[in-house]
């Protein structure tokens, strides 16, 4: 499957006013096509930086990132980012936002209207097509952002703590929504979060990053049965064990220097 991301010996250095800060150092991992990988780490470990590097918004200082063998230089429509603060265009309606990527890629009008409508319905936004972002709640804005990114069909979804600003019930509802659609869409997902439960609940693998400078501490396979409802999953032994393992690994990092 397409959407294979390979990060090798990645380094990102910021230099300002004579001081050099290493945000990411010697980080290697891969996400296979269609895989759901979460990245967790203590705050300031450079996990958002990693996402922006893969997105092509930032230029790596060393090492390489490839998508299906092609090196990443700058943003491209094979990758779609979902931001924590939604980053919706306030001057466009819900439909206008979802249409944006389709317009930019020269899809003809009839097809893009149909595609937009499909993703609006997929994210349960029907009836809100003509609303502007300022009229929507946080949860709805994030669903619009997801619909906008999915609509132009990137192979890889890059999600930067997308549910971090939402309250618990809403976050869980969106997590389940994301899992449902991920099953059908066959996309690689790189999901940044600081929430261990979220990472274990959603992902097939979790990359744990070290504290400053960010590099790989561990990659854990999350082998749990997700066929049942949320209550069954989160109370299963496999889930609880995994969660504790990830938590302990992360906890070592957060307490190391404190």
């Amino acid at each position: 499957m397409d959407g294979h991301v390979v990060v090798s010996e990645l380094q990102k250095v910021y230099a300002s006013g004579g001081t050099v800060t290493t945000a990411i150092d010697d980080l290697s991992f891969e996400a296979r096509g269609g895989e759901f990988v979460s990245v967790v780490g203590p705050s300031g470990c450079g996990k958002s930086t990693l996402l922006y590097l893969v997105a092509g918004f930032l230029e790596a200082s060393g090492g390489s990132i490839t998508v299906d063998g092609n090196p990443v230089h700058g943003p491209g429509t094979d990758r779609g980012v979902v931001f924590q603060d939604y980053a919706l265009f306030p001057w466009r309606t819900v439909r206008g936002n979802v249409l944006y990527g389709l317009e930019e890629n020269g899809i003809d009008e009839e097809e893009r209207e149909a595609t937009a409508q499909r993703f609006i319905e997929m994210m349960d936004l029907d009836g809100f097509e003509d609303r502007y972002p300022k009229e929507l709640s946080g949860g709805m804005k994030q669903r619009v952002a997801l619909a906008r990114t999915l609509a132009y069909d990137p192979k890889i979804l890059l999600m930067d703590e997308p549910f971090g600003a939402l309250d618990q019930p809403l976050r869980e509802a969106l997590q389940d929504h994301l899992l449902r659609i991920w099953d059908d869409l066959e996309k690689t997902v790189l999901f940044i979060t600081h929430d261990v439960e979220e990472a274990v609940y959603l992902s097939e693998r979790v990359l744990i990053m070290t504290r400053h400078p960010g590099t790989k501490k561990a990659v854990l396979d999350i082998d749990i049965d997700r066929s049942g409802p949320r209550e069954d999953i989160v109370t299963s032994e496999a889930y609880v064990d995994m969660k504790n393992t990830v938590w302990r690994s992360l906890h070592e990092e957060t307490t190391q220097e404190a």
């Binding site: 922006y52 943003p75 429509t77 980012v81 931001f83 001057w91 944006y100 502007y132 132009y152």
Partner: protein, 262 residues
């Protein structure tokens, strides 16, 4: 006490509250008219015509239609001066925010233009353009330019990076970002700039017409003053103030309708 009043007013039905606010808003004008009338009685109607006389004169000027060509030409100058300042100001402001060279090129010039009273430039403008409409438009343009440049400059400097990245990842080219993201992002601030510029446009208009025009409201004010027809002079002042007030109100209404997303 203030708390008690607030409670009382929220308990009142909406139409009564609206009527109350209307009275509070317009009452200062009634007080002003009353004081004006009293002073007029003291100093004499020849020096300060009473408000009733001024309003009667104004009504006469409007109902006969005699003032309409002058009002029309004044509005024409304001609209063109404003339109030019918006077109140039937005480009300049955004250009300065996005390019260091553009910023360096205009910074000193605009910084020095800012504190100059624009009416001080009227004699020079007359020298270049002659008396009348072009000159007035130039003065209004210069006066309105700065608030619009500053507002669009500030807004274009703080365009949300995530919006730009979002557009880039969806395939928008670096050059198209300006039209598709930067300019729409700055619209709320451009609107603020225009709102600040409207009263300034009328101030500049009147100044320019007082000195350098044979028609328009400023010219009426000057000629009536020189001829000693003070009711006419005051009527023209009231008319231009009311027009500026209505222009701003009209703009706010239009803005709420056009930019519903702001």
């Amino acid at each position: 006490m203030a708390g008690a009043t607030a409670e009382l007013s929220t308990a009142l039905p909406e139409p009564v509250r609206a009527a109350g606010r209307f009275v509070v808003r317009w009452f200062p004008l009634v007080i002003l008219a009353f004081l004006w009338d009293v002073v007029s009685g003291v100093v004499g109607a020849a020096v300060l015509p009473p408000p009733t006389v001024v309003l009667t004169t104004l009504w006469g000027m409007l109902s006969s239609g005699a003032v309409l060509p002058d009002l029309g030409v004044s509005l024409y100058r304001v609209v063109w001066g404003l339109a030019l300042s918006i077109a140039v100001g937005v480009l300049l402001g955004i250009g300065m925010a996005r390019s260091e060279t553009v910023e360096d090129f205009f910074e000193v010039f605009l910084g020095m233009l800012y504190p100059v009273p624009k009416t001080a430039l009227v004699p020079l403008a007359i020298l270049w353009l002659g008396r009348g409409t072009s000159m007035a438009i130039l003065i209004i343009f210069l006066a309105c330019l700065l608030p619009i440049v500053l507002n669009s400059y500030n807004a274009a400097q703080v365009v949300d990076q995530n919006l730009i990245w979002s557009a880039r990842m969806m395939g928008t080219s670096d050059r198209a970002i300006l039209w598709k993201i930067v300019i729409p992002s700055t619209i709320p601030d451009i609107v603020t700039g225009i709102r600040q510029a409207i009263p300034i446009a009328f101030i500049a208009l009147t100044g320019a017409e007082l000195i350098g025009a044979s028609n328009g409201m400023g010219a009426i004010i000057l000629s009536a003053g020189q001829l000693g027809t003070y009711p006419r002079m005051f009527a023209a002042i009231v008319l231009i103030s009311a027009t500026a007030f209505l222009a701003l109100r009209g703009f706010d209404r239009l803005e709420r309708r056009v930019f519903v997303w702001v």
